[in-house]
Structures are given as C-alpha cells and as structure tokens.
C-alpha cells in the first residue's frame, strides 16, 4: 500500500501513544498541537516536584525519533485550520486534545476576585502559556479548594510549595466522603509526606457510612478507593506535628455561595449526607450550613472538553461522541476528549491503542478514503506563521534546560508565544 497519512491533534500522552502505534504500523503521522511544545499535561499539569513522572517524556522522545513523524506546534485546529481542511489532507484524523476547560461551580460569588479555577492556578504554577499573564493574590492566610480530585491536591501542593504564598491553611472540600474521592493514591499519600504542612482530618468526617463500607468490601469497589479510605483514616488519627502550615481535608460539604464585597471573604457551605442508589452515592443536603472565612477559593470539580466545529460532540459528557474511539468515517478520538478526564498517564496508552486498532482495522477493510487535497505544508505556511517543528522544539528544550542549569532547576520554562518562536528559530 502507498503511504498512509494520519493527523493526530494534541501532543499529550494520548496523542503520543496513538502516534507510536501508527508509526510502528508503517503509517506517517502529522502531530499537531495548539501550543509550541509537546507532552501536553506532562509538561503543564504534572507538578515540577514530580521529576520521575515527567520522565515519561523520554518515551515520547523515542516515538518522535521514528520514521514518518512530524510535529507542528502553534497549530490550533478548529481556529487556524478547520476539521474539514485537515481531514481532506489525511486518510484519517485522531483527536486527542484533552479536556482543557474547567467545570464551574454555578454558585453566586464565583466571579469575585480571589475565586479561580484550580486548573488556571496549577497551569500558572507550571508555566503554561495560557496562564502566563494571570495573577494570583497569595497574601491571604486561608484558601479553600473545592473538589476531591488530583487537581485539587495538586493545587494544594502548589500552595504549600510556593515560597511567595503566605497561606497557612488550605481546606479541601469534598462533597461526598473519602470512599468517593477521585484522587489517586500516590497523590493523597504525598500530602502526608509534606515537610511544611500537617494533614488534618476530622475523624467524624472520615467515618465511613455502612453502605459505603459494604461497597468498599464488595467486588464493585476499586482498590484505589479502598487505599484512599485507609490513608484518610490514618490522617484522621495522626497527631499534629506542629508544622507551619495545615492542609485540612473536609468531606460531605458543598459550597453554596462565595461571599465578599470587593473580593472573596468567605465560603458558605452546606453539609451533605450520602444517599445510595443503584450502586452510586449521591449527595443530599442536610440543611445544616457553615461559613468559612477565607481569602482564596480554587474550584477543582473537573475538567471538561471543548468541541471542535464539525466534529460530533456529546455535550453532557463533554467528550467527542465516539464508539471505542470511532467518531465518523476517517475520524477517531483518544484520551480525555474520548473518555472524559479520568485515569493516570498510562490509562491513555490502553485508550489510544484501542483507537488505533479500530483505525487499522478500518484501513484494512478499505474504509479510509483517499486524500482529496495534498497541500498541508502550504496551508500551514499560509495560516500558521508561528509554526514550530520538532527541531524547533528541541532548540526550545535545550534552551530551557540551560536556563535551569544556571539556577539549579531541571528547566526554566518559556511561557510567551513570541519567545517560543524566537527560540525555535535561533541557532
């Protein structure tokens, strides 16, 4: 068969695992990303104090060295070029651009100064270009993080790690109990290992209700929930070590409004109880309310994907509508935009492999149509003048590492578009 060309949109883990599988099957891949840089959330979402997790990028570097691979940074599919234009120039397109929007709380006061998306905060802390110009006022003493996923814990971690932060206490609010929390075990365990902060859990709030207990003991429960409950239980009995800062994990509480005249002054909470139905634990309000004075609110109740015009989208799930990765003839999806924001990095390998297996089966069955246009480079040259190729990224990478070396850090990140462009073409 003559050359088969696939466009993969999004250069994060899912995009790279899909690319690896396609290249190893002998296809060519054009990998596009809206940012200048590859690795997606491995670069922008994994905290700098997790260098071992960041090291997963060495696997993606191997993929990038395979024959048939090209990278195009600063190409925003859906804005710079349309879905139809991209599909016409490839036998297939795989969308793997993740879920970058944050879910909003939908409560009064959410837009007061001092109330932010935790994703923005974590992105800012991680040097994401979209967040480079954001400002966070960390002069207050108490922060409330709403949500019980890894981003909530990351935000927490970042607040503790920032030298500029004067925050002494971070409250993390979960609307349900420890058995229903969405964070993964190593992240939860790490909180307990921070040198600058005690982890505090009220034993009454960590208590597991009978139905949750029965669920945990059944085959329906996953090991992560069991291990999380164990760790939270340990935190609840742990004596304070009088560290300078405190992280308080609160459960069964939902924010009702954020109050303040000019900026965030407090969060009003309602206490919840769990209602178990069809194997799922929902919350019901007890009517009991509480008011927590605070200076900063970070909401972290999940990521949501954004649609690309012309690509079928499931609004309710905030994912591209798909079956096992198949979207429409020649159109596929992988990663968070396929299945929603869940799992760890490795989950995306299995997810992307399923998608590529479907694509290769369709190719074998003659279902992928021929190219109707073949001028990708000309189109990109015309629309994306700031385009960065893989050699350009390697120059950026070397520059960032060199800057970091002077400061004794792994790297100092470039965050502005014009700096990426200048550095990518520098010699």
């Amino acid at each position: 068969m003559s050359e088969v060309r696939v466009a993969v949109v999004g250069a994060g883990p899912a995009g790279f695992y899909a690319t690896e599988r396609l290249l190893k099957a002998g296809l060519r891949v054009e990998l596009l990303d809206r940012l200048a840089t590859p690795w997606g959330l491995v670069r922008a979402g994994v905290a700098p104090d997790h260098p071992n997790i960041k090291a997963v990028s060495r696997v993606y570097e191997k993929t990038a060295a395979l024959d048939g691979f090209r990278f195009h940074g600063h190409v925003d599919v859906g804005a710079d070029i349309s879905h139809e234009e991209l599909l016409a120039r490839h036998h297939a397109v795989i969308y793997a651009y993740g879920a970058s929007r944050d879910r909003r709380l939908g409560i009064p006061g959410e837009d007061l100064p001092g109330s932010h998306a935790a994703t923005d905060f974590v992105a800012w802390y991680n040097g994401h270009p979209d967040a480079a110009d954001l400002r966070f006022d960390l002069s207050g003493r108490r922060a409330v993080v709403v949500g019980n996923g890894n981003v909530a814990l990351d935000a927490d971690h970042a607040l503790e790690a920032l030298a500029a932060s004067r925050i002494e206490e971070v409250l993390v609010l979960g609307r349900r109990g420890p058995a229903q929390a969405a964070y993964t075990t190593p992240e939860l365990r790490e909180l307990g290992e921070l040198t600058q902060a005690d982890v505090i859990v009220d034993p009454a709030e960590a208590a597991i209700d009978d139905e949750s207990r029965a669920w945990l003991e059944s085959d329906a429960a996953d090991g992560t929930a069991r291990r999380n409950v164990e760790i939270v239980g340990e935190y609840a009995t742990r004596p304070s070590a009088d560290k300078p800062r405190r992280i308080v994990l609160r459960y069964l509480a939902s924010p009702m409004r954020i109050v303040g005249t000019k900026r965030v002054e407090a969060v009003e909470l309602v206490r919840n109880r769990l209602v178990h139905e069809d194997g799922r634990a929902r919350t019901a309000s007890t009517g009991e309310t509480d008011k927590l004075a605070c200076d900063l609110v970070l909401r972290s109740i999940g990521y949501a994907g954004a649609p690309i015009p012309g690509v079928p989208f499931n609004e309710r799930r905030a994912t591209i509508a798909n079956e096992g990765g198949r979207v429409a003839p020649g159109v596929y999806t992988a990663g968070w935009i396929k299945r929603g924001p869940s799992g760890v990095i490795g989950t995306n390998k299995k997810c992307a492999n399923e998608t590529v297996a479907a694509l290769l089966a369709d190719l074998e069955a003659g279902k992928l149509s021929a190219l109707s246009a073949d001028d990708l480079d000309a189109l990109l040259d015309e629309r994306c003048r700031d385009r960065i190729d893989y050699a350009g990224w390697e120059r950026i990478d070397a520059h960032e590492r060199a800057l970091g070396e002077r400061e004794g850090r792994p790297r100092v990140k470039i965050v502005h578009r014009e700096d990426f462009v200048a550095r990518a073409s520098a010699t």
């Binding site: 997963v56 993964t184 190593p186 989950t347």
Partner: protein, 87 residues
Amino acid sequence: MAYVIAEPCIGTKDNSCVEVCPVDCIHPTREEPGYEEAEQLYIDPDECIDCDACVEACPVDACFAEDQVPDEWHGYIAKNAGWFTKR
C-alpha cells in the same frame, strides 16, 4: 523508588499492567522470549516512573509502590530488580 510486582502475580500473569504501563517497563511481554517460562511479570526499577497505573490495573493486587510492599513479600523488591540484572 520503583514499583514492585509480588506473589499474587505468580500463576496469574494477567498482563493488564503491561497494557497501561506508560513506559513499557513491565517484562517479559507476551512477545518476548521467556514469557511462557516466567512465573510472574517484573517491573524494571530503572525504567519505572512511579505513576501507579499498574496498581490500578492489576486485578489481583500484585503491584505495590516499593515502600508499600507488605512485609511478607519484601523479597520481591530484589526479585524484580534481579530479573533485569541477570538478563
């Protein structure tokens, strides 16, 4: 630190961990020589990035972070590492 595969894998070799390992550090894979003879799967401590994917995937709870390995299976830390040095 690295992750370690312990006793429950013996005779199981479910391979769910291999499917999700982001750095392909679990061996032997079904395609590699010695797969049939190997009594269990092993994590290469030099390659492992501590991401926890294998722990979540394993149906028999055989995978552990090194500092979480139950006492009775402590020997599996050296057993995992040893499988890679003798190759």
